[in-house]
Symmetry: C2
Subunit: 490 residues, 2 copies
Amino acid sequence: MDEEIKVNKEGSKDYSEKAITPRATDYSAWYLDVIDAAGLAEHAPVKGCMIIKPYGYAIWEAIQKILDKKFKESGVENAYFPLLIPERLLKREEDHVEGFAPEVAVVTHAGGKELEEPLVIRPTSETIMYEVFSKWIHSYRDLPLLINQWANVVRWEMRPRLFLRTTEFLWQEGHTVHATDADADARARQMLEVYKWFAEEYLAMPVLVGQKSESEKFAGAAKTYSVEAMMQDGKALQFATSHNLGQNFSKVFDVKFLNEKGENEFGWQTSWGCSTRMIGGLIMTHSDDKGLILPPRIASISAVIVSIGSEADRARVTEEAQTLGMKLTAETGLNIKVDVRDKRPGDKFYEWEKKGVPVRLELGPKDIASDSVVMVRRDTGEKTTVAQDELAETLKSTLEAIQKNLFDIALARKNERTKKADNWEDFKKLIDEGNFVLAHWDGTPETEAEIKADTNATVRSIPFDMEKEEGVCVKSGKPSKMRVIFARSY
Amino acid sequence: MDEEIKVNKEGSKDYSEKAITPRATDYSAWYLDVIDAAGLAEHAPVKGCMIIKPYGYAIWEAIQKILDKKFKESGVENAYFPLLIPERLLKREEDHVEGFAPEVAVVTHAGGKELEEPLVIRPTSETIMYEVFSKWIHSYRDLPLLINQWANVVRWEMRPRLFLRTTEFLWQEGHTVHATDADADARARQMLEVYKWFAEEYLAMPVLVGQKSESEKFAGAAKTYSVEAMMQDGKALQFATSHNLGQNFSKVFDVKFLNEKGENEFGWQTSWGCSTRMIGGLIMTHSDDKGLILPPRIASISAVIVSIGSEADRARVTEEAQTLGMKLTAETGLNIKVDVRDKRPGDKFYEWEKKGVPVRLELGPKDIASDSVVMVRRDTGEKTTVAQDELAETLKSTLEAIQKNLFDIALARKNERTKKADNWEDFKKLIDEGNFVLAHWDGTPETEAEIKADTNATVRSIPFDMEKEEGVCVKSGKPSKMRVIFARSY
């Protein structure tokens, strides 16, 4: 009975009757249909905001659990800073206010009165945190200060899209202070590696790590590093960022410390974050025309046992399915769902497919008679018959195989669609076809702006592992020493 | 070295030099000093808001982990609803808007423009959730709908106090929809029992469960149930609430379902919540003039090993302390802190005392020579010498003993300070002395208001387990059938 209720709630009839727009027909509509059909999220009554439904929120909880543990292992501690920031604080760092002022939501009235000073809802927390850090830090012995917070932030979005761009989103923001520039840079790079590890090991998303160009840098940062992923349409998605803030903020917020020589010095800072946007990237990396595909290591339901058979067999099959479910849960430690609803098997299969559950296990009278079960992989559709006494082991190895397969497919796509362009015509053509384009660029914001104006592509990454190579900029013809990655992006 | 940094960060020198105001001198100052000295939280640059520091946030994380698991075991699923609520939604339920309108913060500008409709920052999420629930629910098969969210909310506070009353606070809010009033009431009572269980088993806080009077009811509820705790000054603290909302909101937000008879019916709803305020209650229940006392089951650090000895012994004692720490962590699975800083032992003891770590283990050359360690309980100050090979077992049983002792002390206080009053003079005297007063009351809001005006005491709880008893109201002299609990409150 519990099973029945849960399923009805998440995968309602409305969705199951609506077909998913094929990717090839309309990629944007496909993306929204996948979210809708899986019951991940929906639009909120306030424009640009979203409601994260239980099945979607479970992905966020899994993300939080994995990253939070990793952050803490690296010495980071969680804290909580206020949602509301006095406008004067946001305005202190010049680049920062310029970057965020157009996007903020402003509280002007509260408690039935007009406020003396407007308060902005945090678009990010550098300003309020660093105002406070300046009081926490006195000497080099207080460093490094390693703080993270899991929070909601608000940035007014003109063209919102579920998960990818929403006015309010959930994220974590790490903020650290160090005694030297080298320590700060090492921490920024270390967290970037955490994001890469998480993307690849858990979300099965192969990513590029590198530095951002001046134009794409975070407002107020000395250097911005990012993790970039390729979506199925060849566009780039910024998965996470990590900033070396240098002393830009510490000078403005007076984050000083007494160094070992007894001199006052401004702290060297970093900030780094990832958000519910990652879920958008996850959806667009693996899903297909049948709906969502979840990598096993992030899926809240690892496998679903679906009962099949006629009315006459129903009671017996239901009992066997539930027993098998309990046994499999105990043996694997995984979350195994049992679907014994009185519905046509095809409808049940379809529902779990749309939800991207990695493995479906079909159990009917014939399977019971032969002590077996039919196993179907969500990624390949491959069907095999598995003896019940081998099921736990087979399931575990199949889940690992699915995890690897999803990564391999995404990696092959990324490799295949990362191409070199050595002249402007090729560059434009490759961008139009939806590729990551490796091209020489003269390194100036002016040329980057021209390229963007002509093609809507920008420098996504100056990859760390790129080899030096003499060449000329595809746009300006000026000399260049290295190729960078251009692409259109989300 | 890591140890050194962590300690400097949380318990800074500024604090350790500042004495804690004794409870008896100034209870309010004592409370704030305990928070300050332990490094739990501090005031934010925005009036009424707080910064929850890592050591305080660790308590919230522990609370979340325990309750979240319990909620999920009872079938509840987490989701996330928007921070911003269109003003028209808040205004729909009459009592609700009357209750919350004076407290809300209003966003009037965003994205550089004035908004067409102001948005309020959620003071609670009934309105936005139920607007959406009305679309999720179609038939009795969709029920019960059991949703929870962990979120921040904002209620403008005129007299803020860290943890107890802050303009922004963190909480969880559960919202359920049922097919019958009985189911809804059972769920409201079930969650109340979860809060009671959590308060008593983890926070060592004995509590009262009961119903609220009409005047103290949640804005829009049919019935409000609450968990009330007694603080050390005899005042009541509302620990958590659970509301049977009846059909009040479902009628306004059109939360309808097709019942088993095929008729349209409005859903029966509940909401229930607890917040960072609980941490204020925790602090005020157990702490003393030396600082914070944390019950072992909620403490993020179970025990601290403090190295002592002269400079000559330092290297050896440090090594032994670290080895012992690792061994004890492995054997108990607990978080054992090792403090090998080069400071006077007394200063180190004092710091951990203020942070309320349940057990201190002192290790010096003499202890090492005798394969023992000195164990000091934070609650009683009791000192014993324990053989190192019995340490893991002794520590575990000591922590359980501390947990029990803290509960017993609080229970004895509550019992001792819960007194019957049968006339108005006694009533006033007992309230003034800081008691929970069991008194007859005629059940009218008018009399309750008069009592409040005269004594500042209100009906805190109409306890579930109160026996029927004929009597007359202490204030009006009108007939009464049962005593209720009056007290002053936070």
